[in-house]
Symmetry: C2
Subunit: 497 residues, 2 copies
């Protein structure tokens, strides 16, 4: 009986030839595991299973990760100008419902802006949040909150995200992630801006609580504080936040993605409790992608496991707040990862990302370079068993890192075919509580073009993204940063796409 | 209202902690795209889309393939003794619901038989069918109809499949595929048996209509004949049937998988029209896997497209026969295929599989080997633009094929990481008509261990596989062929796993 009642209440909505029942919800959580492919989940699941059960690759006992409970299907990802998308084009698709070209941040191929689901929610009275481990002005958070012709326009994106140059003013109530340097004027020695704009100062004027380190996060959002008022911005690294594999060993440095997501959800829930309008939040496990670009298997696993931990927390959150729905899909696969002779055991010994080890290696100024490499670098990379001849070869190479990545990949029986993205479909996850979960599956189990995803959220929340697009396009003046705003200089080397 | 009525009729079944609504059906169609991974579908979809729409990789217009309309989720595939499964262990899982070791054909690790969903359906009065493009005694069809310790026991498998040495007698009403040589006594020059057993002769005695070539297929099953009575067996090649890319250019030689599936479904429908019991059929697009093992991109695409054509036909069939349900999932990925710089255009020019070209090349006995290679072999491989230096290098190599496969893969921007299988999850497809489709999605959208799949079919058809297992295990004598029956001799080189 429950079904017929809910169906009558929800009504039937026709969309792209399909019939959607569309359960209604007050809040929507969208999670992007950037660069997460099908092989990422298998690798992470098997890694965790073998650790937890004490089994091995020759007699495996496999247990589900949180994401395995939430699979809805697959998503097509191509850009308007390439079968292989970048995060910008794919993000524009799943934030705004429009196909565009690689590098586009919520503009169509003609350069005109399109409204995002986050902006539309904000205009309708919802609270909004972006929680990421990349720089906050990286492509995925950018597509929800900025409109520029080229994703490398980091300064223009940051300025729009905080409302400084966004025609709708500040549209994001919570911003958590990295990219602190873009919010400081160039007079600050740690700035990476080329102008005197002080975005943190602007944020404070607009009422944002500003946090710039873990201590500030703990003070304002730590523990189970639920009275942290909106809006707030917390940026915990000038650059990308740390890989989880590195952060877990220095938790005093930065909050984890899970901690940030928990804090944001508690704040949003508190802020909307008395309102008819809820919230929209985008959470991104940003650096699965960076580990893919770097062909760093262990860093990729740890960030994928963290993504699953966030999914597990959010599933429980939805059960506790049944007026909330979850959807999650990657923008694209990254690295061309395959599990061609797979045994995750050798990855268990890896203690740090290659990014971290390279920094440590460059910083070493002692006299026993070989000793340091053998005693510290190699064991941390899971390569303590390298032979003396291998060590010689690595130290003789102009850079040992590419060869070391191949060595650990071979040990674990995985292969990377590229340092870029691939065209292959990605997995769609989702969740809703109680009877809504079956309805959601009935609507969205399947294979979808990535542009369909925000159209579903739009229906669930009762929003109209096209109206936002019309509003943005009616704004006078060339506020959309053109291609000339892209700056591949100060900070750009840092930002793999 | 439809929902609550159907739910009440179906009842709620608890299974592995989940609640399944389980729509009931009279007939079940299970399709195995052997060795089909996530990248296979993206590659085939983009290939067909660019051909159909005349678009290109820099301005793609993408259209759905049949399989895209039927996605339900993903499937985990590991074997009991390895994270990477073979077709035997995975097949044992999705035919019988039990994990076992690589090489196992429907026996548990202790060597004892487990009943398959097909055998169980047969015992319950259903009609049954196996339709494949591999040899009929290859691992995937074998797991439904035989019980041996090692998949290479091809003679023992064939003998069980036709009922000669199966304790339940003949359990398969329709067998269509390759592997003809295993059904002829060694006295026949085209036999690959090492004994005098005449399985075609046995089949005739048991009432099977026997077909051994396309003409016999056309005579008995061609056109829209629906009065072909059961049982029948049609084996159209001593070895594997042709790759679709080759067969399509010589359709007089063999029926396609689609033609065989259509014929079998019409026969099954006719044979069960007046019965309360329906049918179970397993259809396998067997050679997607072989093309993966061979790292043959074009052959892989064409067999994947054929799989989608079968899915499309079956979706329409289910709509026309709503007492029928469909489920489809691969046993594993094969080849470690990634689309790392993808453009399918160069694959359009490929006219034949490498297997076919190698045979042609070996058969060439003319005097102008170079001329033949340049004028016939290279264009058919999509490599007409090879430079003279490349031709020289290829002809100087002990075998040019490995290098040619890399050349065409590079042109198309794909990569194969292995000649074997990988551990990565595969896609689950399914379909049911009308309101049952939403119920099916509500039940099965998600990520499943491969052992769960036949347990669902069992519920849908109202069967009991454990009873079949008990019956098989109660049979006296050592009828399950042990490891010693495996014969890696005459026919074995042919059968990639």
């Amino acid at each position: 009986m429950q079904y017929s009642i809910t169906l009558l209440a929800a009504g039937l909505v026709a969309q792209t030839g399909l019939t959607w029942a569309v359960p209604q919800a007050k809040n929507f959580i969208y999670i992007v595991p950037d660069g997460y492919g099908q092989a990422s989940q298998t690798m992470a699941r098997d890694y965790v299973s073998l650790q937890k059960t004490g089994s091995n690759a020759s007699a495996p006992i496999i247990q589900e990760l949180a994401g395995d409970r939430l699979v809805l299907g697959t998503v097509r990802t191509h850009a308007s100008d390439n079968l292989i998308t970048d995060s910008a084009a794919s993000g524009t698709a799943f934030s705004c419902g429009h196909k565009s070209y690689n590098d586009a941040i919520s503009v169509t191929p003609d350069g005109r802006p399109v409204g995002s689901i986050l902006e539309t929610a904000k205009l309708a009275g919802f609270k909004t949040a972006l929680v990421v481990t990349s720089t906050i002005n990286h492509a995925t958070p950018a597509v929800y909150s900025a409109h520029v012709a080229n994703r490398d326009s980091y300064e223009a994106i940051a300025a729009q995200q905080i409302g400084y140059s966004h025609p709708l003013g500040p549209v994001v109530d919570i911003l958590l992630g990295g990219g602190r340097c873009y919010f400081k004027p160039q007079s600050d020695s740690t700035s990476c801006r080329s102008d005197d704009v002080d975005l943190f100062g602007f944020a404070r004027k607009k009422g944002y609580h500003v946090m710039q380190d873990r201590a500030a996060f703990d003070a304002y959002l730590g523990g189970y504080t639920t009275n942290a008022s909106l809006p707030y911005i917390g940026l915990f690294n000038d650059d990308q936040m740390m890989y989880e594999i590195d952060r877990a060993q220095a938790p005093e440095k930065e909050p984890s993605l899970l901690e940030m997501a928990q804090a944001a959800l508690r704040s949003l829930e508190q802020a909307t409790r008395a309102s008819a309008k809820g919230y929209f939040i985008m959470i991104e496990a940003s650096r699965i992608d960076h580990a893919g670009h770097a062909n760093d298997a262990a860093a990729h696993v740890h960030d994928t496991v963290m993504y699953n931990e966030v999914l597990g927390f959010v599933q429980n959150w939805v059960d506790a707040h049944p007026d909330t729905m979850l959807m999650s899909a990657a923008d694209h696969e990254c690295g061309g990862l395959t599990t061609n002779g797979f045994d995750p055991a050798p990855l268990v010994g890896v203690q740090h990302s290659f990014e971290y080890l390279e920094t440590r290696w460059k910083a070493y100024n002692g006299t026993d370079k070989r000793g340091y490499f053998v005693s510290t670098i190699l064991p941390a990379a899971g390569l303590a068993d390298a032979t003396s001849a291998q060590v010689d070869a690595l130290l003789a190479a102009s850079s040992p890192w590419a060869q070391m990545k191949i060595m650990i990949a071979k040990k674990a029986g995985v292969n990377w075919s590229t340092g870029g993205h691939t065209a292959t479909d990605v997995t769609l996850h989702g969740y809703a509580a109680g009877a809504k979960w079956r309805e959601f599956k009935g609507d969205m189990a399947g294979n979808h073009d990535n542009t369909e995803l925000p159209r579903y959220i739009e229906k669930v929340l009762g929003l109209d993204m096209d109206a936002t697009t019309a509003k943005l396009r009616a704004v006078n003046g060339s506020w959309v940063a053109g291609p000339e705003a892209a700056r591949r200089s100060v900070g750009d080397k840092r930002h793999s796409h």
